[in-house]
Structure formats: structure tokens, C-alpha cells
């Protein structure tokens, strides 16, 4: 770098972003320096506003700028259907499908013994409290919990853990289907996906 501490600090901070290496970070820093108008100011403003306004919803742990998020407050959504996701970003994907009109619960991650992420690091206690409150008749009664977790080792571990936690509770626990993607070519499907697709075949 060019021996300019301020510029080196910016490159260092940018290179901490996911998928941004030191070379890309340097390119971004140069772009920010060269950008016409008040781009740098607007970026600072956007970062400051997000920090000041956006927080997690105390009920479902999605992001929101209000007391509760829009999915928790929407009166037109089905109360007794709860979809559990890993990250707030997953909600957009599920909403885009248009196939779910219930409420959400964001775990804020998935169990990973390898990376030292245990149940206490996720919003599992809060999920159980939501379900138990409904069973006690104190909160909204939940009939079905749909697990929409990633189809990887961490997702599978989390599904196993939650299944154990839910045992004995009068709540239906389901997991979204895994199989051949729509438009997917059978030729190119990996073994594990094909195995799951055969195992979970649907009667016509």
C-alpha cells in the first residue's frame, strides 16, 4: 500500500467483509476515494442509520426498525404456524415463494460443534418459550413448527437437536422437503440429493 495510514485502515476494515479479500478491498477503497459526489458521506450515513434504527425483533429475532417486526405484527398471517429459519435473509427467500403465510422464528445461526456454536448461542430457548407459552394457553397457540434450515451438517445437527427438544410436546414438527430442484436436470443431481428425493417420494 501507499503508506497512508487512513487508507490502509479503510482497506483493512473492508477486507473483513465476507468474500472481500485484500485486493478487492483495495479496489473498493480506491473507488470510494475516486467516486464523484458525496458517495462516501452517503455510505457513512447509511451505516450510521442502520446502526441507530435497525435491531432484532424481541419476539422472532428478525431485523426490524419498529418495536416488533412486520411479520409479527401483520394481522393477516396465520398465528399457529411457525417457520424456524437460521438467518433473517432466509425469510426473504421463503416470502418470495408465496407458499407460507404463518409467523417466523430466527435462530440466528445453526449448531456447529466444530466451530463451538452450542444451543445457548442460538435463539432456541426463546423458541421453546414461544411454543410452551402457547401450550400453557398464555401466548398464541402453535400447532405446527416448520424447520426451514440449511441442508448441511450444521442444519441437520440443529434439526436433530430441536426434534429432541420438542419430544412429548403437542406440536407437529416438520422439515421442508429436500429433493431435485424444479428445472433441475436428473443427470447433474448429486448422490445425497437423489437419495433424499427417492426416500421422500410422494404418491401421485
Amino acid at each position: 500500500m501507499l503508506n497512508i495510514p487512513a487508507l490502509e485502515k479503510l482497506v483493512h476494515e473492508l477486507s473483513r467483509l465476507p468474500g472481500i479479500g485484500p485486493k478487492t478491498a483495495q479496489r473498493l477503497a480506491y473507488y470510494i476515494l475516486r467516486a464523484k459526489g458525496d458517495y462516501s458521506d452517503r455510505l457513512v450515513d447509511a451505516l450510521t442509520r442502520v446502526k441507530a434504527e435497525v435491531h432484532t425483533c424481541p419476539r422472532c429475532f428478525n431485523y426490524t426498525d419498529a418495536d416488533l417486526c412486520k411479520f409479527c405484527t401483520d394481522p393477516h398471517r396465520i398465528d399457529n404456524l411457525l417457520c424456524v429459519v437460521e438467518e433473517p435473509a432466509d425469510i426473504s427467500r421463503i416470502e418470495a415463494s408465496g407458499a407460507f403465510r404463518g409467523r417466523y422464528h430466527v435462530l440466528q445461526g445453526s449448531l456447529s460443534p466444530l466451530e463451538g456454536v452450542g444451543p445457548q448461542d442460538l435463539r432456541i430457548k426463546e423458541l421453546m418459550e414461544r411454543i410452551d407459552a402457547g401450550l400453557r394457553g398464555e401466548g398464541t397457540s402453535i400447532k405446527e413448527v416448520i424447520l426451514a434450515l440449511d441442508a448441511d451438517l450444521e442444519g441437520d445437527t440443529t434439526v436433530l437437536y430441536l426434534t429432541k427438544q420438542m419430544q412429548g410436546k403437542a406440536v407437529t414438527l416438520t422439515r421442508i422437503a429436500h429433493g431435485v430442484p424444479i428445472g433441475g436436470d436428473i443427470d447433474f443431481i448429486d448422490d445425497r440429493t437423489m437419495g433424499r428425493a427417492l426416500e421422500n417420494r410422494v404418491e401421485l
Copy 2:
């Protein structure tokens, strides 16, 4: 997106960075939200410091946080050798080679009639003034100007334009060599590079 204006604004601003599409911008915004510690604050601080401290060197138009950049003030560099580059980032590449110990001049771009970039948009006038001042005996006398511009259409156009501007001046004008890269496999070299490598062959 999740109907959170502050978050949408941050995604919009991030997606203006080069190589960052809307999906990546959303991922970066979520990372910034989730990041532990005061990452967002440190990013804001870095952006603010760069804006406050970093400016272009009034002599060579490289970035600096001092009155003149470190290449213009370094007493150990050769005064009468001037290397012309397009962007400040190019200087790092040339410095890393260790093969050049003269001064620099940053054009801040290259001529592109297609994108409406003309000579008045670049630091060409300032380059000519530096050379002319030396010829008049007022500034540092420059013996050789090395053009280290990109080997693309814009770079070639700029080389042609500068060659015309320098005609009749008692200064040697050179361009860095283009040819097969060191470690490059002859099999995989494109036609134009091979053409240039043959044309500019060096006697052994």
C-alpha cells in the same frame, strides 16, 4: 427486502461499489448488522478519516495525506525519470517490481472517446507543464518519460495522444514492453500479445 428503509438504503449504497451486485450487497449489509463488536463504527470511522485526510498530491496526483506524496518528496529517487500511470493503484504494482526508482505522474484515467473521456478530463495538462518547466530550466529537468499505461484500447489511445503532444520536445518517450508474461505458457498466449512479443523481440 424486509421493508426496513435504513437497511434498504445501506444495500443500495453498497451495491454501487464495483463488482458488488444487489445480492452481495444484501449479504454484506447483513454481515455488518450481525458483526460482533463495533465493526460498523470502525468502518464509519475509517471512511470519515479517509475523506478528511486523503487527497491527491498536487504535483503527481497520487493519493497522499501530506502536502506532497512520499514519491515526490523522497530525496533518494531519480529526478529526471518520470513514469506516467493511469491510476494510483498502478504505482504499487510498479513499486513491487523494484525496477523503477524515478518519479511518478498519475493521469487519473485514460482517453476514451466512447465514454466521453477527453484530454481535459485527465492530468495531461499538468504532465506537460511538469515537462515544459524542466525544459525551461524552472523545475526538475526530465530526460525520459515512461508510459506505463494499460494495454487496452484506452491505453493505446492515450499513448498515441501523448506521443503527439511530446513531439519536438527534447525528452525521450518510452512505453513499457508488452509480450509473453514471465511463467506464461506460449500455448495459451492470445494472438495480439504474441504479435507484440514477436514485433518487439530483443536481440540476445
